[in-house]
């Protein structure tokens, strides 16, 4: 019975993925007829150079970027929720995204205008940003690990995450005051969040790292399930708890850092999607939860991407859309926590 629910859920999520990807191809600031889009995709070309470029170098990379970012953030959220035994954990609320953001800020502002746009096509510049994000996310995760051994309360850990976010944003403000105008502008526009920041040339690095980390998370389903019983039971089942936690947090850090570096600090997706997956599957079993979370994350991010190009007055920032989707879901979960099985 549960297996059938799993199959149905995966089929629905996959169909949604296809539909939303098609919507992303068709909708945009420039209207391109559907038959021309088919011509471009089939390699014939539309006869309109600009249209070819928009589809092949803008919309297609954006679809891949959004889908992978959504999957990555959602898996980060799932791993954080299980590791910290906290249903309200997520990469943005725990400050992991802001940590990555601080790393990015240091790099962008330090290199200032010399970057030439947010992501210069030079491999060195976006690698530097990526590295900055990794170090920032890693530093916050270390802080969280340290505090989680001292502070046992889940709520307190969330508050510490929020405090870390405040601290990083204040450091960023301080950096802004000494940075060049162009550097600040670059950083601010990065902060809005967008899925158009990965060029075709950067795609292999972006996609490669995310896919590897997602495969890594899928290989951790056995210890993840043991961790549902808490550290003591997990140990008794033969799980090396501290090593497992470290691996899970490294995967989380890498996923969050890569997405944050390329797309900006995107909120809510990582927090909300694992809940959508649990509620649609009716299980906390990670062997089913991980695939569903990946697909649902990709769906939600594509939905945000479609919404961001739906205005005739220009692109809406992703971070203006995610709370509209995320907040009602979180409120629903908080208000109904007594009825939702996995809270009991």
């Amino acid at each position: 019975m549960t297996y059938r629910r799993y199959t149905v859920t995966l089929v629905v999520l996959t169909l949604l993925l296809v539909l939303l990807a098609l919507a992303c191809l068709v909708f945009g600031s420039v209207d391109i007829p559907v038959d021309r889009i088919i011509d471009i995709l089939s390699g014939k070309g539309s006869g309109n150079k600009a249209w070819d470029i928009i589809i092949l170098q803008s919309r297609l990379p954006m679809i891949a970027t959004a889908a992978l970012a959504g999957a990555a953030l959602s898996i980060s959220g799932l791993l954080l929720q299980t590791t910290f035994n906290n249903p309200l954990a997520g990469p943005s609320i725990l400050g992991v995204s802001s940590g990555a953001g601080l790393g990015v800020a240091i790099v962008i502002l330090a290199l200032g205008g010399s970057l030439g746009g947010l992501f210069g096509e030079s491999v060195g510049s976006y690698m530097a940003i990526l590295l900055g994000a990794l170090m920032g996310a890693g530093a916050v995760l270390l802080v969280l690990i340290a505090f989680s051994t001292i502070v046992r309360s889940n709520t307190m850990l969330l508050i510490i995450g929020i405090l870390v976010s405040y601290l990083t944003s204040s450091v960023v403000q301080l950096l802004n005051s000494v940075a060049t105008e162009e550097g600040v502008h670059n950083y601010v526009s990065w902060g809005f969040g967008n899925f158009s920041g990965v060029s075709v040339a950067q795609m292999p690095v972006y996609a490669g790292i995310i896919i590897l980390a997602l495969i890594g998370s899928a290989l951790m389903v056995k210890p993840l399930n043991a961790l549902l019983l808490g550290a003591r039971y997990a140990r008794n089942l033969g799980v090396n708890v501290s090593m497992t936690r470290n691996i899970l947090l490294i995967i989380t850090g890498v996923l969050t850092a890569v997405v944050t570096a390329f797309c900006g600090p995107i909120g809510f997706i990582g927090l909300v999607v694992p809940h959508i997956a649990r509620m649609s599957l009716g299980t906390s079993n990670h062997s089913r939860l991980v695939p569903a979370t990946i697909l649902a994350g990709a769906d939600i991010a594509l939905l945000c991407a479609v919404a961001s190009v739906s205005s005739p007055h220009g692109i809406i920032p992703i971070n203006a859309i995610t709370p509209i989707i995320g907040v009602p879901i979180i409120l629903y979960i908080i208000l109904n926590r007594r009825r939702i099985q996995y809270f009991n």
Partner: protein, 260 residues
């Protein structure tokens, strides 16, 4: 030494760290737990019941001595091997409400399954048997969240059974249960020891039920000795009078419980 000993400790010393200071609660423990026996560990709060159990389950390193299960040194072996010798049931809250009973019991197979934890036909058979033995088979497809406290504890015991370990250690398994579930749980553990040949060690606050249903007692006395023996012997020797510091209560052998 005897051939039936599943759990043996040699000169075991347990305690805790308080900053830089090491506080020894119990020392010089040479304990034996035999196959097919249900042993209850009793003592007043703070006597060291949990500390001793946490040392035996390797959640806390003992201050000294060794612990052997099936003749193998528990402290020196890899975690994976240990997980096939010792099953644990504790009172910690779990976030497994959205797992079914069968899935939860299936987690007990983890020490025996491969990298991804997939269960084969034999694993499924063992899981079903464990649920039947623990009397929770009728709820196999139900969510853990929908169970009563007593049923939840049965599911956790079934999970430990599915782990197929010769020794099962239970830290206060009846703590949050009502009286009917307490007796039912103790009966279940007694059956598992007597009929399935498990060595079962549990800590409890429930003196009278432990005295009625356990084969042997480990009593932590107020002067930090651990007295071991059958219930009858220990009661006859007046050992029960050394369990609590409070002088206004005394043990009444007629009712196997304390009175004012």
């Amino acid at each position: 030494m005897n051939d039936n000993a599943i759990l043996t400790t040699h000169n075991l010393a347990v305690g805790y760290r308080n900053g830089k200071q090491q506080v020894t609660l119990l020392s010089g423990l040479n304990l034996h737990l035999n196959k097919g026996k249900l042993v209850a560990l009793l003592g007043q709060n703070g006597a060291g019941k949990s500390t001793l159990l946490r040392a035996i389950t390797c959640d806390e390193r003992p201050i000294g001595g060794t612990i052997e299960v099936d003749g193998k040194n528990l402290l020196e072996m890899p975690q994976k091997e240990r997980s096939r010798l010792l099953g644990l049931v504790s009172t910690e809250r779990i976030q497994a409400g959205a797992l079914t009973v069968e899935e939860l019991v299936g987690l007990g197979r983890q020490p025996h399954t491969g990298f991804l934890g997939r269960l084969d036909d034999e694993d499924h058979r063992i899981v079903r048997q464990a649920m039947a033995d623990a009397g929770i088979a009728a709820k196999a497809g139900d969510y853990i969240a929908s169970l009563s406290d007593g049923e939840r504890q049965k599911a956790m015991i079934a999970r430990a059974l599915a782990q197929e370990t010769p020794l099962i250690v239970l830290d206060e398994p009846t703590a949050f249960l009502d009286v009917a579930s307490r007796i039912e749980t103790m009966r279940l553990l007694q059956t598992l020891a007597h009929d399935r040949g498990k060595a079962v060690l549990l800590s409890s606050h429930d003196i009278s039920q432990s005295l009625m249903l356990a084969d042997e007692l480990w009593l932590i006395t107020t002067d930090r000795q651990v007295l071991t023996g059958t219930t009858t012997d220990l009661v006859a020797a007046g050992a029960m009078d050394h369990l609590f510091t409070n002088r206004s209560i005394h043990f009444n052998p007629q009712i196997l419980d304390y009175s004012f």
